[in-house]
């Protein structure tokens, strides 16, 4: 936080410095995000956060004296576009690093290409976890960070009977697996588990199945606009059960978009949302709104993107201005690449190249106001490292899941 105030205070100074910074070649950063199509709602903020960070960093003299130049393409929520543009930024625009991707499918689409060209990509998104790839740095939260906090807390408060409804794809399946395991470890019982195909928007039967099973709370891991219709339908059928989620509010700001009280009594673990009531968060939000007054909401992915820019700056500067991937990974391997950002202190884990987070438990009230009953500091992305992924030693370029872990040598 002190850093940002200093920056603001020394704006004039920074502008003067920037004159010299222009002398060096700029550092090119590719940005591939979905500014149109299905995912636009949650991702436009990421691009804005990157633009905000770029402006700040450039005003403060750039990265190691070099200005940042953004190369932005709209990937239209289309996997093919990711493939086309990932090749373009790496081969034609010759960017130093890429910030790319919202959906896991888009990440998997571009990852082989990043590997082919041996580039470096930041994936600034909460996801199902498990990517063990030296070409990737992930700043979003992963299931162990969100569920090892959320589920035991919920079970303590609302009892041990748990019902999961999850989107029937990778994120939902893997998250549900995490929930199942954590419920079992804590002596609870899964009274139901239902996977909803993507694009399904009608939930009458599901709502009845839940009523029949009588759980203490429902874990909702629904994804996409169609599935989000569940909340409205559950409220109108007067289901009245508390909900736990890792994906709502923090990403798609459903509490702002839906009519109260459809999301009331939902508990979400997120690593940032704009309601977070710390001075760092407020300062970040103020800067964001100063630059983008019409921004509908600043979500966790926006914060993660902003943090990622600053982490990248730090790594390059500590590598004496080198943008080579191996030099940066040597810095990363020291294990102390950390940043005091809008969500508190975060650090990159050298083994998995994922990021630790402050996890906020957000509760949605009747009028869709947000309160924070609990905050956990410094929750580490432990699973990949424990399971045997160690990028400081080997680079398998793979994505693992709890049921499909790395084979131990």
């Amino acid at each position: 936080m002190t850093v940002t105030w200093l920056q603001a205070g020394t704006l004039a100074c920074a502008l003067a410095l920037s004159g010299t910074a222009f002398a060096a070649d700029p550092i090119k950063i590719g940005v591939l995000e979905d500014q149109s199509g299905d995912f636009a709602a949650a991702t436009i903020g990421k691009v804005h956060a990157i633009e905000l960070a770029t402006e700040e960093i450039n005003k403060a003299g750039g990265i190691a004296g070099r200005q940042i130049e953004l190369v932005v393409y709209d990937t239209q929520s289309d996997n093919n576009r990711y493939q086309e543009f990932m090749r373009r930024v790496l081969q034609r625009d010759k960017v130093d690093v890429v910030f790319a991707g919202f959906s896991s499918a888009s990440r998997e689409a571009y990852r082989p290409i990043v590997n082919q060209f041996d580039g470096l990509a930041f994936y600034n998104n909460q996801y199902e976890g498990g990517v063990c790839d030296a070409n990737m740095i992930v700043t979003g939260a992963v299931p162990e960070q969100q569920f090892s906090t959320l589920i035991p807390w919920m079970m303590e408060k609302y009892g041990k009977r748990v019902y999961t409804i999850a989107a029937d794809y990778n994120f939902g399946q893997i998250s549900a697996e995490w929930v199942r395991n954590i419920v079992k470890e804590n002596g609870g019982e899964m009274v139901g588990e239902e996977f909803i195909p993507l694009g399904v928007s009608q939930f009458s039967q599901t709502i009845q199945n839940i009523q029949t099973a009588k759980p203490g709370f429902v874990v909702t891991l629904l994804v996409g606009a169609a599935q989000a219709s569940y909340y409205e339908q559950a409220a109108s059928a007067n289901l009245g059960l508390p909900m736990a989620s890792s994906v709502n509010v923090g990403q798609g700001y459903e509490h702002k978009r839906f009519t109260p009280p459809s999301l009331a009594n939902m508990y979400v673990t997120t690593n940032y949302i704009e309601e977070v009531d710390t001075p760092a968060s407020k300062a970040f939000l103020e800067k964001f709104h100063a630059k983008f007054p019409n921004e509908p909401y600043v979500n966790q992915e926006a914060a993660n993107s902003y943090i990622a820019m600053n982490l990248y700056k730090q790594m390059v500067e500590r590598a004496n201005g080198s943008t080579k991937r191996e030099d940066l990974r040597k810095v990363l391997a020291q294990g102390d690449v950390c940043f005091d950002g809008p969500s508190g202190n975060v650090c990159l884990d050298p083994k998995s190249q994922h990021m630790s987070h402050t996890i906020f438990l957000a509760k949605v009230g009747d009028g869709h106001s947000i309160s924070f009953p609990k905050v956990w500091d410094n929750i580490k992305p432990y699973w990949l490292g424990d399971a045997g992924c160690d990028l400081t030693k080997a680079d398998p370029d793979a994505q693992y899941t709890p049921s499909n872990p790395p084979s131990k040598q």
Partner: protein, 290 residues
């Protein structure tokens, strides 16, 4: 009591699935069945009706009027598109697929540009009722009633009104109808408008239960096409039994094995129907007449 609950629950689920299939498909079926045009902008008409409904509610109209408003607006847009684009393509039905696809691209991205990636919806009205230990939403009953009303209305319009008779005549023998002094262009425009308005109605009536985004129409598309395929070309003969058949399949499988089974069941039903009744249920009913 438990028995009653089970009966009510099954009926409710069947009705809910039936309503969704009928309402998804009816606009598409009218335009396809009556005009032989596959309208790939069907989802966008649904979206259009939904957005208009939400706007109307925000202007202070009560929900039923707002839905009507959404439906009429979608119908109007449909007639304009028919006039500007589709009309020129009746001789080339395959090309109309492309044109309506183009329209759908423009509509969904245009909506994103104009109104942003998402919009606050309106809540579902009417609350819920209890049967045994289960609670149900009243609004779902409204959906079921609407589906039935739409089927009845379509039957009346196309079989009992002057317009309906003219429309059927025009579709079967355009030259003949023309020679008899029917303004065939107007008939086509109205038929397309009715299809679009039905899509708009679907959008409007489902708007309170769904998330408002520019691509919201796509969630209806698959069900719409499946129902039309199973139903065959004739809206009146095909759509209702097709929706009923599929609703039984979907509701029973969903309650038995979850949503995925329901979806797979739908697809298997389609494959079976293609194999056994290549011309859909219409073809089966019309077999003797062909």
């Amino acid at each position: 009591m438990e028995f009653v609950t089970a009966i009510v629950s099954s009926a409710y689920q069947f009705g809910d699935a039936f309503a969704f299939l009928v309402l998804s498909a009816c606009g598409l079926a009218v335009i396809f069945g009556m005009m032989g045009v596959i309208n790939l902008a069907h989802g966008e008409f649904i979206m259009c009706g939904a957005y208009m409904t939400v706007f109307a509610v925000n202007w202070g109209l009560p929900l039923p009027l707002a839905i009507l408003c959404g439906s009429l607006f979608a119908g109007l847009v449909g007639m304009i598109i028919e006039r500007v684009v589709v009309r020129r393509l009746y001789a080339r039905p395959l090309d109309s697929i492309l044109a309506t696809w183009g329209v759908s691209l423009i509509a969904s991205q245009g909506t994103l540009i104009l109104f942003g990636p998402t919009m606050r919806g309106v809540g579902t009205p009417l609350g819920s009722f209890m049967v045994g230990a289960l609670s149900f939403s009243y609004y779902r009953l409204v959906l079921i009633a609407t589906a039935l009303a739409v089927l009845l209305l379509l039957y009346l319009v196309f079989n009992k009104t002057r317009f309906g008779v003219l429309a059927r005549a025009t579709i079967q023998a355009p030259h003949m109808a023309n020679a008899l002094g029917v303004d065939t262009n107007r008939v086509y425009a109205f038929t397309f408008g009715i299809g679009a308005a039905l899509a708009g109605l679907t959008g409007g009536i489902y708007a309170p239960t769904m998330t408002m985004i520019p691509t919201m129409g796509t969630t209806f598309i698959m069900e719409a096409f499946v129902t039309v395929v199973v139903g065959g070309a004739d809206v009146f003969l095909g759509t209702a039994p097709a929706a009923a058949l599929l609703a039984v399949v979907k509701a029973s499988l969903t309650s038995w094995q979850g949503q995925l089974a329901g979806q797979i069941g739908l697809l298997l039903a389609v494959i079976l129907v293609i194999r056994l009744l290549p011309k859909g249920i219409t073809g089966f009913i019309l077999k003797d007449r062909a």
